[in-house]
Structure formats: C-alpha cells, structure tokens
Symmetry: C2
Subunit: 212 residues, 2 copies
C-alpha cells in the first residue's frame, strides 16, 4: 500500500521504517527535508516529501506530527490530498507550556482527533496508537509479549477495519474498539496518566491491559 | 480504627459497609440522614452523622462525596476535624453539564485532590480508588481475581503507607505508587477513558493492569 507519514520526529520515523519493512511504499513528509537526511541514509526505501507530496502519495495518510502543529501541518498537506482517504491520527495535544509533565491543549468535551475530523470532513479519521510510545506502536511484542491493549476510535467502520488490519501487521494482538471518534477524548486524556506511569517506572516500554 | 466516611451515595455506602465488615468503627456522614435510613437498617454497625460529626469521629476520614460537592462538604466537615488526619480522597471532579459521558471540572494543571489539599493544608490527602467503580474499590478480587492495579498518590509517605495497608485489607494485590499528590491529575484524567471503556464493555466491573 502507498502510505504517507506526516511528521519528522521519532514517531513518524518509527512508523515509516516499520511500514517500509512490511513492504509498503512509504513517503515521509516534513517541512524541512534536511532534518531527515541522516535518518534516511539508513532507511533508503522511505522517500522524503513535502507535506502535500506525502499526502498526495498515500492511499492511507498517517498524522505523526506534534499535536500542537497537527492542524497546520494537515492544512499544508491539503484538503484535496486527504479527501476520501483514511487519516490515521496518532498524535496527542500535549501542552508543554509549563514544562514536564505536560497538560493537554484540548480536553474533555473535544479532542484533537475530532478537531481534525471537523477541519477535514472528507477524510476518514481513525485515532489509534497515541497511548503508547513510538517503539511500542510498531513493536508491541516488546512489551509483555504483546499482552496489552491498543485502542481504536473512528466513525467509519471500513476505515476502522483497515487500520485494525494494519495494527495486526505490526504485531498487535489486543485491539480495543472504543467506538466512534469522540472516544478519542478518553485516549487523549489518558496521556496524563501515561506521563505519570512513565515518571514512576522510568521507562516508556509500558502499556495497559484491560481486565474484567 | 475509627473511620469517618463522608458521602451518602453508593461509594460511601460500599466503603462504610466494607470497613465495618473488617471490624472498623465507622460513621457515615451526610447532609440528609433520612437518605441513609433504609440502607442503615441492613448495615446497623455503621452509625450516621453530620459531616462534622463524621469527620470528628474518624482517625481516618474518607471523602466519598460527589466530586462537584466535595469542597463544600469538606468545609462543613470542618478544618479542625480534618487537621493532622489522613484524608482519603476517592472522588472525581465529574462534570455532567452536557450529560453522559461526563467531562471534568478540574483538569491538566490541577486536580481535585490538590484543590482539597490546598483548602485543608493540615490534612494528609491521599488519592486512591477513584479509577474503579464502587464495587471494585472494596472487592477487587471480583475482577480478574485481583490481577489489576489501583493507584495511590500522596505527599505524606506515612499516610500513603497506612492507606496502602487499608487497600490490602480490601483485597488489593497490585497497588501502584504513582508519587506525590500532583499525580492525581493522571488518575482523575483517566476517568475520561474509563467512561468510554464502560460504554464499550457495558459493565463497570473492569480495571487496567499496567504491563511492561
């Protein structure tokens, strides 16, 4: 599949490398291609593009930009390049204005995922993977042999199904369908617990398992 | 131990009944004693008091009031009746102004637990149990044979240790020390995920296990 990954940080790099490893045709999109030259030298199957080139390339587009910059990055990607496509949102609206641990810039009665959906109504936004660190997103078996949950929220059932298949290809065993996109309010808010777990455990190689 | 439980809802009732069952000397505190007469008829070891009488009774006091009413209930309980005591806060600042699912009235850079600590600086506030439903608080073995986590946040190490012992007496096996009271921002925010898990699973007899 042709996948466009928007972002140049470790989340975008990790997703791009993993997708390429799995045989997908990947373009990673950035404002500043020079930032990715070093990384690309050991990931030559991934091409570098502008946000617009990257979104145009993808049959599926992944928003792996900084949450604070996601709406502007997606605007540069272009509404026409996102229309009728699955837009996987793995970002979090982290607010570091008071340092670490962060707060959130969107919360409670709204979520970044819903803001993105409203701004790009023709895209099929799927929220997932935002509750784990970059390495766990793409290599879930490295935590507790995969015995933990990733969440998925979307309004479009077919988009949710396709992204579920992608998650399985990464190694995810337990994929929890939370419901429509408004349930992203829950997974985004969870980040405030995640940063405290990270603080207490001193590692990001952690996740939750839902028990009943 | 003499315990004062503030509140008259199912959380306060459940905690009071369990504490009495475990041999503690329990007073449950309410604005309206008539609301508890029926319940008390089958829980005769628990006495009913005003907020102030209940707080005065307790060597340990538990805030199990509605989060929206907690600060005013604690004011009625009286600063002098809370001073130098452990004040266990199990409440959540749920905001139902837009119906279900709720948002939170405090969030991100503050928490209800910290608001309570600031309002009653002589109390030793310990946040715990707020991430599970009333029945799971007091009967953790009824979910996955107890194989899941409860969190605890407090500034006072001795208070945290005493409440940890109380949690063990309820049957809790995995008690996760998140750190100081500011970590309650994480467990309170998690409620927004919890309500979505509840919505998807159609039961509150659930919890999370931290995996690494």
């Amino acid at each position: 599949m042709r996948v466009g990954v928007l972002g140049s940080g470790i989340v975008a790099q990790g997703l791009s490398a993993r997708l390429a490893e799995l045989g997908h045709n990947v373009v990673i999109g950035t404002r500043d291609a020079d930032k990715l030259r070093g990384w690309q030298s050991s990931n030559q199957r991934v091409l570098i593009g502008s946000f617009a080139e990257t979104a145009a390339h993808g049959e599926m587009v992944i928003n792996a930009t900084n949450g604070a910059a996601s709406l502007s990055a997606l605007s540069m990607a272009g509404e026409e390049n996102l229309a009728d496509k699955i837009l996987v949102d793995v970002s979090n609206p982290l607010d570091f204005s008071d340092g670490f641990p962060p707060s959130l810039s969107v919360f409670g009665k709204d979520s970044l995922a819903e803001q993105i959906q409203r701004a790009f109504p023709m895209a099929k936004v799927v929220k997932t993977l935002n509750t784990v660190t970059a390495r766990v997103m793409t290599h879930p078996l490295e935590v507790a042999d995969g015995d933990h949950h990733v969440f998925i929220s979307a309004n479009d059932a077919d988009a949710k199904s396709q992204v579920t298949d992608l998650l399985k290809s990464f190694g995810w065993i337990h994929i929890f369908d939370l419901g429509d996109l408004s349930t992203a309010r829950g997974t985004e808010a969870y980040l405030l617990l995640w940063v405290r777990l990270y603080g207490a455990m001193n590692t990001g190689m952690i996740n939750v398992k839902i028990m009943k």
